[in-house]
Symmetry: C2
Subunit: 408 residues, 2 copies
């Protein structure tokens, strides 16, 4: 496997476009298109929030059917959530407007929205935007990058990636992806939109199996603020244009494909955590030697999700009691008298807690280490051999500022 | 029932004292004593965090035994949590030091600590403090108020209350209480220390039943930041000096006592929520017409616990989609198309959402209402007839500031 450029258009037969439709933001592009010039099998995971945005209802129906997909129409600014029948009608009208430009099948169009909840989107802008996007679509890397930017809300940078994987039959497949997400980020899933394209030929059932397992280990292990969005979506489109022998069993080719999809997903998940609203650093918790993977996940998420741990990270304050406290209330049984805690940053490691007690480390050195742009708190539970990582960010003044007047 | 002055010393036979022991804070009192001149039955509830502070271990053993209690020694500044054997030894030495001043029974002394986790407390300061406290003890209202101040950490004001209740035999009992708590506040329970004294004669079993049920409806329904502390403690001491017929069954007298204890607990819980770290307002969620009380509690807590709802409250921003979103991810089944949402503040009510959609209300009027010091979001679920309230506060820059360098 190797990382390549090209993002969402890296795989054969995929195109992207972006457009300024003026839905809510001024002076920037706020619509994007992903298009495949041949039919795609799809798989995906969606928010677990009972309040599901209209696009989530629309897409999950299509993704969980046998419909073959050709395009995804995305907008930022307004989430099309809590919008009732008018919101569902918008999804259908978008699909009709886009599919009328190629094969006319409205069930070949996925839609996705992100932004403010509870506002309606102007359908005429979206429908006019569909024509513009289809006209402008391109398989260039620039088009992919512009699309990754158009779907951003409070993100401070675009998130895209692509890899190339050689399968056992000698054929090379590509997997490209883009995501957005910054606030309202919490498993399961995050306020995130994520799209993956691949030219691999793979059965739908295996595609779904791979993406579900990978989301559990990646996007569902990041948190910014504990709020699970109404719009979370991570979908993959596979058009088979790489010409590989169809992946139809869990053999070596499935493993290679899985590895590639895991790689792009984890990289984007970590980018999203580090770009959390107001974040000044990526805050990772690596739990080791827990009794089970499930325990390790719960413990790691509890630490990176704690407001007090996050605020201490912002202040570069080695308040290790808060890490112990967050491990303690995570909801799984631990023995605090066995817990060791280390900080890892900039290639250095410091032991802070041994058997549940402070080691008498140097506060000055700890503060220096915590100033890094990426800090990992390692918690060794000494209860088993399972491990997990969770990713988050610090809690800063800017998080409050961004969210106190988000709609303005 | 009527509210009276006197706080923790309002009930007969109870004394309080405070003292500046210099444990961590400079220039303020940081130790407090509650003392009864006769033996007390006790009941209490403690943190559910697996990492329990030493005083929690010490107290829960005594409270769950038949030991009769005479005193509570409290310090602020350092939490005596994650302190291992040295921390447990401190509890015992404190109990020996205090009880040596009256009857010599170390199991007659409860201890409580609040502050930074992971630091050791200087035992000589605590033991010297015990003698000072015992010497200075008084049953005056001023002594009660000084004790309520001495146990504060980041609280901005002291929290005390007392009530008088007439029982069916014509005897009057009194219930007085003080609490502290501001950050690391989340069910179950909060970073809170709470102490109640009463001169009622009541059986231990009923005392425990009452306090457990009441904590579920009051302190376990407040949240500031989602972090469950290592030190949470709410204990009641009953010395029976009111001379009432012993409350030994769940009859009318139990109901009257329960009502009084519920009143002081709810008032203090709401004060704690409104005084959350950095809070500019009290943020209440009142869920109506849910399918069960348990559902209503989960929904109400989800709303007041949401960082995004809290930040919108800070900004006086009527971002109602966030309330719907938080109801949606709470983990109980809801039908968003039935949900109505109202704001209540300053004696006014505004309907913001009807059947899951914005009502087209005036944004200006909503913003004005949200500027109140106490805002209630009423969510009518239209699914049943159960209701619950949860209390929290907004998320402000000051929360981050307070917690980014708490130890300094």
């Amino acid at each position: 496997m190797k990382e390549i450029t090209g993002g969402i258009t890296a795989a054969k037969g995929f195109y992207a476009a972006s457009h300024a439709a003026g839905i809510k933001y001024k002076g920037r592009e706020d619509m994007a298109l992903i298009y495949s010039d041949s039919d795609c099998v799809t798989a995906g995971t969606f928010t677990t929030n009972s309040v599901k945005a209209a696009p989530v209802v629309w897409d999950s129906k299509i993704v969980h059917s046998e419909s073959l997909v050709r395009s995804v129409v995305i907008n930022s600014g307004i989430a099309n959530a809590a919008t009732g029948k008018q919101g569902m009608d918008l999804c259908e009208n978008t699909a009709i407007a886009m599919s009328s430009l190629y094969d006319g099948r409205k069930d070949s169009v996925l839609v996705a929205s992100t932004g403010v909840i509870g506002m309606q989107i102007d359908a005429t802008k979206i429908c006019a935007g569909c024509a513009e996007l289809f006209e402008k679509k391109s398989d260039s890397a620039d088009a992919a990058t512009a699309a990754a930017k158009a779907i951003m809300t409070t993100d401070t940078h675009k998130k895209e990636i692509a890899v190339e994987v050689q399968l056992t039959d000698g054929k090379t497949i590509r997997i490209g992806a883009m995501t957005k997400g910054s606030g309202m980020i919490h498993p399961n899933m995050c306020t995130m939109l994520g799209f993956v394209t691949t030219d691999a030929a793979i059965e739908k059932k295996l595609l779904q199996k791979a993406i579900s397992a990978i989301v559990d280990d990646t996007f569902n292990m990041i948190t910014v603020d504990g709020d699970t969005s109404t719009n979370d979506t991570y979908v993959i489109l596979a058009n088979g244009q790489a010409g590989n022998t169809v992946i139809d069993s869990e053999g070596e080719d499935y493993r290679l494909f899985y590895e590639g999809l895991h790689y792009v997903s984890e990289k984007l998940a970590i980018q999203m955590a580090g770009d959390g609203e107001g974040a000044t650093k990526l805050f990772t918790c690596h739990v080791k030697n827990a009794r089970s993977v499930s325990d390790a996940k719960v413990l790691a998420k509890s630490v990176v999700g704690s407001s007090l741990c996050k605020a201490a990270m912002f202040g570069n304050d080695s308040n290790f009691g808060r890490f112990l406290c967050a491990l303690g209330y995570a909801g799984v049984s631990i023995n605090v008298e066995k817990v060791d805690i280390f900080y890892e940053a900039d290639g250095k490691t410091m032991k802070i807690v041994e058997n549940g007690l402070g080691t008498g480390y140097s506060e000055e050195e700890a503060t220096e280490l915590l100033k890094s742009e990426s800090v990992t708190v390692v918690a060794d539970m000494h209860m088993g051999s399972a491990e997990a990582k969770a990713w988050g960010c610090d809690l800063s003044y800017d998080y409050v500022k961004i969210n106190a007047d988000y709609r303005c």
